[in-house]
């Protein structure tokens, strides 16, 4: 495993850059644990100070140090994306595997549910939920809702991979070698499915972070939990652009973009490594 990571780092430029970016982002997120301020406290420091040695990223009109604010925001945003991706991956994996391997009526039922989820217009639904739930729409509830909405597309992908695996001859060889069905799925088929899970993990994080930022900017989330979107929301509330406090926008935008790029690079480089085809190519007659 370590050797693999080392080789990836050495031979794969995307992976190296992605790692560096994500290391910086994670470092900043980790710094939040050493913050001298509580994230929701306001009017602690001078207002609207531009970036300087004292306040690296400047301060905002609510008297918060943007650097420390950002550490919390990144931490929450990443955790948000991670939780959404984790839950929705589990959902899509389980549903895709069952649907694809069992087939028949089970498949038809699961896939009609699945198709319903694919066609639901996400954004209006989330806004609607916000108006219904209001204060109950916490950060965690939003994560659950988005996970519940984000599995459908990839479940279909996993299902189609499973169907083609099921029709491959080696599946029959495994059956006639006396392997049980769970064993065949986990040992013979999962190696083909996991790469999809991994690479869609990153993509799903990107998707959920993007959606969360959008919702937050528009004020449709719990703005008291500092997230990157929330920071931009507050900047808007205080007309930061008009009053020339550009750094209030700039740093959250910069870091959310970096996060996108980092995750994206990791997704494609992991893809290349884990993809069964390229994996086959690499297995030499050693």
């Amino acid at each position: 495993m370590i050797a693999v990571l080392r080789d990836l780092f050495r031979y794969n430029g995307e992976f190296a850059i992605g790692c560096v970016i994500m290391a910086i982002i994670l470092g900043i997120a980790a710094a939040s644990f050493f913050s001298p301020y509580e994230p929701i406290d306001s009017y602690l420091v001078a207002l609207d100070a531009p970036p300087s040695l004292e306040y690296v990223f400047g301060t905002n009109s609510r008297g918060q140090d943007i650097f420390w604010q950002l550490t919390f925001a990144i931490r929450n945003t990443l955790a948000f994306g991670f939780i959404v991706a984790l839950i929705s991956r589990i959902l899509s994996l389980v549903i895709g595997l069952i649907s694809g391997y069992v087939g028949g009526i089970v498949d038809r039922i699961l896939m009609s549910i699945n198709d319903t989820f694919i066609v639901i217009p996400l954004f209006p639904l989330l806004v609607l939920l916000y108006f219904v739930l209001r204060d109950d729409m916490t950060w965690f509830v939003l994560a659950l809702v988005m996970a519940g909405l984000g599995w459908a597309y990839d479940a279909r992908l996993i299902r189609s991979v499973m169907i083609s695996l099921r029709t491959r001859e080696f599946t029959n060889t495994s059956v006639f070698s006396g392997m049980s069905m769970p064993r065949i799925v986990t040992q013979e088929h999962l190696p083909y499915v996991l790469p999809i899970v991994f690479s869609t993990f990153m993509n799903n994080m990107n998707w959920s972070i993007g959606l969360e930022v959008t919702l937050a900017v528009l004020g449709f989330t719990d703005v008291d939990t500092p997230t990157i979107g929330g920071m931009i929301f507050w900047a808007n509330q205080h007309s930061a652009m008009v009053s020339g406090v550009w750094w209030w926008y700039f740093f959250p935008t910069l870091f959310v973009t970096l996060t996108f790029i980092g995750l994206f690079l990791l997704a494609i480089s992991m893809n290349e490594y884990i993809d069964p085809r390229s994996r086959l190519d690499r297995m030499g007659n050693s």
């Binding site: 050797a3 693999v4 083609s164 050693s286």
Partner: protein, 355 residues
């Protein structure tokens, strides 16, 4: 390298010409370093309106050669030397930009992959697959397109109902014919077929081969046809090339090769054709196929060759024209056959740069 005809691209009768083509599987990722020389110096040409057959035992590099000429190279397969020239482009295929190459592949070539019947998209009905592949290229209105597809399936003895099936609902032979239909529907200039009839019964196979011949006549296409089944070659190929361990060992008009095989390997292949009414015990070729990661020095057939001589162990016989249109690479065939440099590309660096 020397005989590359400058005119390859301009109006002579060769549609395809390869010269000293070398394609190796090179694995040097993640600490492993290995080189499989699956295509090692093949020079041949395909004439206009010709069906060129390629035969040879399993894993002698037939598919690899085909990939190289079909611009279907992807790592770890690399072109390490030589050229591929088509009459419809005026440069070496591998001197073009990858984008151009892909465009050419779609526009002029039609490639039936080996085992493609097993890679039809399992969650798409057959008619969807036809639309994906051909609708855009055919420039026909929908109704006419559908009709054309049906007509084409008819020629391959497939009922139109199969269009509404999923691949797993068809028998192996039906899927294989679907693949042939996909590849021949757009009337391509150059068809490359890798073992397209392995799963067909003899009656259907005969009809399909007749269909292929017919289409090829009608549209004046040229074709490379790969199969290990020599009887199929006998019935469809105009000229035949025999491959052994990554090299062309004999080539000639099909009738000449069958009547007068000059290479011991070809002779063995032809002699071992099983026929009905024959219950004698027959054996396969003795010895094991050569390991292409470490091929035998000299003539690659020498460890299994009944005629092997001292020189065969050290020198590599050049593919030499011994009769009109009949080339062979064997020292025993004639004293005209001379050795050429063996193994590695002569100047690997130079070749690399050339590419």
């Amino acid at each position: 390298m020397t005989q590359i005809s400058a005119s390859a691209g301009h109006g002579n009768a060769h549609v395809l010409e390869t010269s000293d083509l070398r394609a190796y599987y090179r694995m040097k990722y993640f600490g492993i370093d290995r080189e499989v020389r699956a295509v090692d110096g093949i020079s041949m040409h395909v004439r206009k309106h010709e069906i060129y057959g390629i035969a040879g035992e399993s894993s002698c590099g037939k598919t690899t050669f085909i990939k190289a000429i079909a611009a279907a190279i992807r790592p770890p397969l690399e072109i390490v030397g030589g050229q591929v020239n088509y009459s419809f482009i005026d440069d070496d295929l591998y001197a073009l930009s990858p984008a151009r190459r892909t465009a050419i592949r779609w526009q002029h070539l039609s490639y039936i992959l080996q085992g493609s019947m097993n890679v039809l998209n399992p969650v798409r009905r057959i008619h969807k697959t036809f639309e994906d592949f051909a609708f855009r290229h055919m420039h026909l209105p929908r109704a006419e397109f559908d009709q054309e597809v049906r007509r084409h399936l008819e020629r391959l003895r497939l009922p139109a109902e199969i269009l509404r099936s999923y691949p797993h609902e068809l028998s192996g032979g039906m899927r294989q014919r679907v693949c042939i239909a996909l590849a021949t529907l757009c009337k391509p200039e150059f068809i490359i077929a890798d073992e397209p009839t392995t799963a067909l019964d003899v009656v259907v196979q005969k009809d399909v081969l007749a269909m292929i011949r017919e289409t090829q006549h009608e549209f004046g296409s040229s074709m490379i046809f790969v199969t290990h089944d020599l009887t199929v070659h006998a019935n469809i190929a105009d000229r035949l090339g025999i491959m052994y361990a990554g090299r062309l060992v004999e080539e000639g008009r099909t009738a000449d090769v069958f009547a007068n095989p000059l290479h011991p390997y070809t002779a063995h292949l032809i002699a071992s054709l099983p026929t009905i009414g024959d219950r004698h015990t027959r054996d396969g070729l003795h010895g094991t196929p050569p390991n292409l990661a470490d091929p035998p020095k000299g003539c690659r057939f020498h460890p299994r060759c009944p005629l092997a001589m001292e020189i065969c162990r050290h020198e590599n016989p050049a593919l030499t024209t011994l009769a009109e249109d009949h080339r062979v690479a064997c020292f025993a065939a004639s004293s005209d056959v001379l050795p050429i440099a063996d193994g590695k590309p002569n100047q690997p660096e130079a070749l690399e740069v050339e590419r």
